[in-house]
């Protein structure tokens, strides 16, 4: 029998490069070429002249953006909502996970988890149908309820002050199922004998939760929080675009960097919007690198890089 010849090391290298090839081409075209496009932030873009042909204008796009009232508003909203969602979302998910940990009935557990996880699979478009049916000024359920209680109905889509609550509730509503499953998973990892020992020592359920369960989820909470802080400069476009329905009156409390950039694209303000995008990407990069160096100090094995 003829012995099969082992392919040479050199051939292996090219074969592996070939396997990675499609992904490399993809990242080059769709991620690195747009990075070259950030020069748009320093140009007065004209479609017929193209990216390279358009005139350089230095920092005037940035100047215009930072002088506008929008700059402060969208930055404050983006960062503010990120922190609000991190705190409220994580706390809700933790509490739910701790409560789930007390459930022993398998069927009940499955039922609770499945209902909570359902919104994870809904798009923001579909969720906007739901919020619309609650918030519609005349037909909406919320106003029917207010009238039933002899309150004045509220015109939800023209009152910015209610939107921090609405947006936070919707973010938590969509995310609590997944969040609680992540925390619950770390609770499942707790050695059952710890609870057993505590019980023998006379600790009640509350004491056990305080001294065993909560410390068990703190590491996951830390990592999730730090990662979320690293992304605090990016907003969930779907939430901020679909739920407030792009209503201009609500911008003071609903406009974030991502919706601002999208509108800029729609209106053809390429230069200023590209400058805003570069501002977002650059600050985002700094924040992730900063956050990563913090994780490196706390828990090196969880560092991203």
């Amino acid at each position: 029998m003829k012995k099969l010849r082992r392919p040479s090391i050199r051939m292996d290298q090219y074969a592996l490069l070939l396997l990675a090839g499609p992904a490399i081409v993809y990242f080059f075209v769709f991620h690195y070429l747009p990075m070259v496009g950030v020069v748009l932030a320093f140009k007065d873009y004209r479609y017929h002249l193209g990216i390279l042909g358009s005139e350089w204008v230095g920092l005037s796009n940035f100047d215009f953006f930072f002088r506008s009232a929008d700059a402060w508003r969208i930055t404050r909203n983006t960062v503010g909502y990120s922190f609000l969602f991190i705190v409220v979302g994580n706390l809700t998910a933790m509490v739910v996970a701790l409560l789930l940990n007390e459930i022993r009935n398998k069927f009940a557990m499955k039922y609770y988890q499945t209902t909570m996880i359902f919104p994870t699979f809904l798009s923001w478009v579909l969720i906007s149908f739901i919020t619309y049916s609650f918030l519609h000024p005349t037909l909406g359920l919320l106003n029917q309820f207010l009238v039933f209680l002899h309150f004045e109905p509220v015109s939800w889509f023209s009152e910015p002050k209610y939107w921090p609550f609405i947006l936070t509730i919707m973010d938590v509503w969509k995310g609590v199922g997944m969040g609680s499953i992540l925390y619950f998973a770390s609770l499942m990892g707790v050695d059952a004998s710890l609870y057993e020992a505590a019980r023998i020592d006379g600790a009640n359920r509350w004491k056990q939760t305080l001294h065993i369960s909560i410390p068990a989820i703190v590491p996951v909470a830390t990592i999730l929080t730090i990662l979320a802080i690293g992304n605090a400069f990016r907003a969930d476009f779907g939430l901020f675009y679909q739920i407030p329905r792009d209503v201009g009156v609500l911008y003071p409390t609903t406009d974030v960097i991502d919706t601002y950039i999208f509108r800029g694209l729609r209106n053809g303000d390429v230069g200023i919007t590209a400058a805003t995008g570069l501002f977002q990407s650059a600050v985002g990069l700094i924040m992730i690198v900063a956050v990563n160096s913090i994780i490196r100090k706390l828990k090196p094995e969880n560092a991203l890089f």
Binding site: L4, R6, P7, I9, L16, L19, A20, P22, I24, Y26, F27, F30, H31, P34, M35, V36, Y47, G50, V96, L100, I103, N105, A108, Y112, T114, T115, I117, F121, L122, S123, V125, L126, F129, Y132, S133, H136, T138, L139, G140, L141, Q144, G177, M178, I181, A185, L224, R245, I261, F262, G264, L265, T273, A274, Q280, S281, G284, I288, E301, N302, L304
Partner: protein
């Protein structure tokens, strides 16, 4: 005792997730006049199919959106998973010379990007993918984070497997298909499912890049339905009374919600059954990339 309170809490809490869905279903089975008179209700005052009859009498747009969305989700997911796992396999091989630079090259895209505007101009002005089916597939072919999850999984597989296969003269592609892929079914299923859900729910791509209504995805179609029929109503309100718009008699409220159920319902019932893949995918991702 304390468990009773916790159960009571969860029973109430689960209603927070069930009632909104019931409302959408209820509106779709309601009588338009009831809705206009009394507002949306948790249960229909008069149960009727009218809205669904209207939706099914003109199914072209929805069927078309189903076809587009299926192509985007299924073809997109297959290609994505193939390309990402092939690359991850190469990066998982310790003796691959360019492993480090390529990993860095891919990883960096997670930290920094050109942003929407440069991407938009590239895709529409230079690659001319705007308004084509390809815009749903090509710009989202790979995800750096998923590649890293794949790679980490492959690295965890016993290295001897690859070595002995090579002794037997198997090429890289064959090792990947006959050894690595069958061993990585759990991670493959999780990442494929997460990609599929994301693609099925995508409306952003259509919103930004697609004008041709034959290329609308289901979610984008729904978005337009929610916005547009309001627009029609707005117009009819501004019109003098003797002018009757064609859609004036259309039961817009109920039809809109029936469309939402027809477009999104079937898959919404299926997805939660696969939640374990989703949860596992997230857990792998959250622990370490």
């Amino acid at each position: 005792m304390h468990r009773g309170i916790i159960h009571a809490f969860f029973i109430l809490f689960s209603l927070v997730f069930i009632i909104p869905m019931l409302i959408v279903i209820s509106i779709s089975f309601s009588n338009e006049q009831d809705i206009v008179r009394d507002g949306y209700r948790l249960f229909p005052e008069n149960f009727e199919w009218t809205a669904y009859q209207i939706v099914f009498a003109n199914p072209e747009q929805i069927l078309n959106a189903y076809v587009v969305t299926t192509i985007q989700a299924v073809l997109g997911t297959l290609l994505s998973v193939l390309i990402m796992s092939l690359c991850a396999y190469a990066l998982s091989r310790q003796n691959f010379k360019w492993r480090k630079p390529i990993t860095l090259f891919i990883f960096f895209t997670m930290l920094f990007g050109g942003g929407l505007i440069p991407t938009y101009i590239l895709i529409t002005q230079y690659l001319h993918l705007g308004n084509t089916i390809w815009v749903y597939i090509l710009p989202s072919l790979a995800n750096a984070f998923y590649i890293i999850i794949f790679r980490t999984f492959f690295q965890g597989l016993p290295h001897d497997l690859v070595e002995s296969a090579k002794m037997d003269g198997a090429g890289e592609l064959r090792i990947y298909f006959t050894i690595m892929l069958p061993l990585s079914k759990p991670v493959l299923a999780s990442l494929a499912f997460m990609t599929l859900v994301n693609k099925w729910n995508d409306w952003f791509t259509a919103l930004v890049y697609v004008r041709d209504n034959k290329l609308y995805t289901l979610q984008y179609l729904l978005q337009r339905i929610l916005k547009e029929s309001e627009f029609i109503k707005q117009m009819s309100r501004d019109m003098p009374e003797n002018i009757n718009l064609g859609s004036f008699d259309l039961p817009t409220e109920t039809v809109r919600f029936a469309m939402a159920i027809v477009a999104a319902g079937p898959v919404m019932v299926i997805f939660p059954w696969f939640q374990k893949y989703f949860a596992r995918g997230l857990t792998i991702g959250a622990v370490k990339g």
